[in-house]
């Protein structure tokens, strides 16, 4: 299966500012997270894939075509911007029907698609109200709906949970996950929120300073590690001393002790140290990785 998006040596400079430098990555079917702090090059990458700007060098391909050479490919792309971009005086139904037609759908089909998509984003009851009367969460759903109304192959979402309260954020992430995994519409989700990626994405591409820092399945970054976490109520120092005597290094982090590269010998040493110190054990488990670790372990720091 050819990739939906393909960046090959993708570089974009704005004068002396490097927005993206020699980025090479593919986006396949499913939900892909584009993760990075502000200024990492996420928005630049999206603009390049939408064909709104030309690369300084390298290439960006969308569904096999270069988007900055022809606009036709955008008929199968959807885009949900981060910022406010909705008219206030028209109804959601009227707006989506218009946007479906601007994406190339004939009026009768646009009408049907509008009704369908409003139902999927949970706005069918509110479709005849002016968008200006909507809450932030509802407006965010209209933004997602306009990106989906023409049934794209791929949708680019830019910070889709920005400005939402915890409840609204959960609903939006659930909607994104359903879109990507049940509707069969692939998604590239650009965000600086690692939790959003962990909740929804299958793969992650980490951008840092305009370069691809890491990429791979999200599960690779969140699986169990060889680091052992031992959480005890007391006697931390005695345990560290006992472990040290056995040749095992433990570092205290809050109420926990962290032991890197814990194998059978280290586990035996921990058992003995706990027994000899009389400490009350709360929890002992391998550390499960999070996407936060990517940035904590990054050589440049983020």
């Amino acid at each position: 299966m050819p990739p939906l998006l393909q960046a090959a040596g993708l570089t974009k400079h704005y004068g002396s500012t490097i927005a993206l430098e020699d980025a090479t990555f593919d986006v396949h079917e499913g939900v892909t997270g584009l993760l990075g702090p502000n200024g990492a090059g996420k928005s630049t990458a999206i603009k390049l894939f939408l064909g709104l700007i030309r690369p300084t060098s390298g290439s960006a391909e969308v569904l096999g075509t270069k988007p900055y050479e022809t606009v036709e490919g955008r008929a199968r792309l959807g885009y949900m911007p981060e910022h406010e971009c909705l008219p206030s005086s028209v109804t959601a139904s009227e707006f989506l029907m218009h946007m479906a037609q601007v994406s190339g759908l004939p009026p009768a089909h646009a009408r049907t698609r509008t009704a369908d998509i409003l139902r999927h984003v949970g706005l069918d009851e509110e479709r005849y109200r002016a968008i200006g009367e909507y809450s932030t969460g509802m407006r965010q759903r209209v933004k997602l709906a306009q990106a989906l109304v023409h049934d794209p192959v791929l949708v680019l979402l830019d910070e889709p949970t920005a400005g939402l309260d915890p409840g609204g954020r959960e609903e939006m992430l659930d909607l994104i996950s359903r879109t990507g995994h049940s509707f069969g519409i692939s998604i590239m989700l650009s965000t600086h929120l690692m939790g959003d990626i962990e909740r929804t994405a299958d793969r992650v591409i980490v951008l840092e300073g305009g370069r691809v820092a890491q990429e791979g399945p999200v599960s690779d970054f969140t699986k169990d590690t060889t680091t052992l976490l031992v959480e005890v109520d007391d006697h931390h120092d005695e345990i560290i001393t006992a472990l040290s005597a056995s040749g095992v290094t433990a570092i205290r982090r809050g109420q926990s002790l962290v032991i890197e590269d814990a194998g059978d010998a280290e586990l035996d040493a921990v058992r003995d140290a706990l027994a000899s110190s009389g400490a009350r054990l709360r929890r002992m488990a391998p550390h499960r990785g999070t996407l936060t670790d990517i940035f904590r372990d990054a050589p440049h720091g983020v």
Binding site: E84, P87, S103, G104, L105, H109, H150
Partner: protein
């Protein structure tokens, strides 16, 4: 005694959730996108699909554009052919409603550009299968269509009145058939001009009111600046008819040569009326004594430059 639950014997409905359905219907690409933006523009101007307040202004403007024609037709129907000598004909009609057309352009043209930029809806257009030029030209076409309808509506009423009130309608048509292609051509040139300048101004601001005030100011300043200059150079004999400086009774050439005629070209509000007179072959203003190429060039400049500005503004727009 508890009542029996009702027994349903007829067919019963059942709701199925089919889930998300993929779309495999036609996709008509850029041509559909252009049409959609065009018709959206037409609806925006006419207030279709919006509240009653949005419809009042376009309705008033249409009534105002047709009102003189209706009045003339009523006079013709009472007075008959004798009225033809003193009521304005098709050649005069565009001049008669020119101020109204400028007001219409100033007030309504920003409606098509400024809200999309202010609300940043433009960002959603430009990620779809259209170019920024497609968007801008579809909006320009939408506005020009409405201006054309405005310009033609009065002319059609007037033509119909002239034909129907003539003592010999068929004879009138045979004698004046050329007025029909002429008013169509002249109306097109007037509408293009009325579209170009206000829409170009609207690309420079996100506030409708600023654009409207600027357009009205632009035409007023041009007229107010040129009129005194012409008066001075033409020894105070110029006069203003229907908001336009005319030279009907002037003998400028003997006083200042071509200067006054060229200065008058700076009053760009008169440019479409030069073209109107040219089309109807009734050149009675300063352009009469200039070579045709000069007022035509002035008109071309006053329409081509704003249209080019619109194109340029949208070419360089970035989201």
């Amino acid at each position: 005694m508890a009542s029996e639950p009702p027994v349903t014997t007829g067919p019963q409905g059942e709701v199925f959730d089919l889930g998300y359905q993929r779309y495999d219907g036609p996709r008509e690409g850029r041509s559909r996108a252009r049409k959609a933006i065009y018709w959206d523009g037409v609806k925006l101007i006419l207030g279709i699909g919006r509240g009653p307040k949005s419809k009042i202004l376009p309705l008033l403007l249409f009534i105002s554009a047709m009102l003189p024609a209706v009045v003339f037709v009523i006079i013709l129907s009472f007075v008959g052919d004798a009225a033809e000598d003193f009521i304005p004909g098709p050649a005069d009609y565009n001049g008669l409603i020119s101020t109204l057309l400028i007001m219409f352009g100033a007030i309504m043209a920003p409606e098509l550009f400024t809200p999309d930029r202010k609300d940043r809806v433009l960002d959603l257009y430009l990620v779809r299968p259209i170019t920024s030029t497609d968007y801008a030209m579809a909006r320009v076409a939408a506005f020009m269509s409405i201006v054309l309808a405005l310009v033609y509506s009065g002319q059609i009423v007037l033509q119909a009145g002239l034909i129907l009130t003539a003592s010999e309608p068929w004879g009138y048509i045979k004698d004046n058939w050329a007025d029909i292609p002429r008013f169509l051509a002249a109306g097109f040139l007037v509408a293009l001009f009325i579209t170009a300048i206000p829409m170009a101004v609207a690309t420079f601001t996100n506030r409708r009111a600023y654009a409207s005030v600027f357009v009205i100011g632009l035409f007023t300043v041009a007229l107010a600046t040129v009129a005194p200059l012409v008066h001075e150079t033409c020894t105070g004999q110029a006069r203003t008819v229907s908001g336009q400086v005319t030279f009907e009774e002037l003998h400028c050439e003997s006083v200042v040569g071509d200067a006054a005629k060229y200065v008058n070209l700076l009053n760009f509000g008169g440019a479409p009326l030069f073209m109107n007179d040219l089309v109807f072959d009734v050149r009675g203003d300063s352009a009469r004594e200039l070579h045709d190429a000069i007022p035509i060039s002035a008109y071309a400049l006053y329409t081509a430059v704003p249209l080019a500005l619109i194109w340029w503004q949208y070419r360089r727009i970035r989201i």
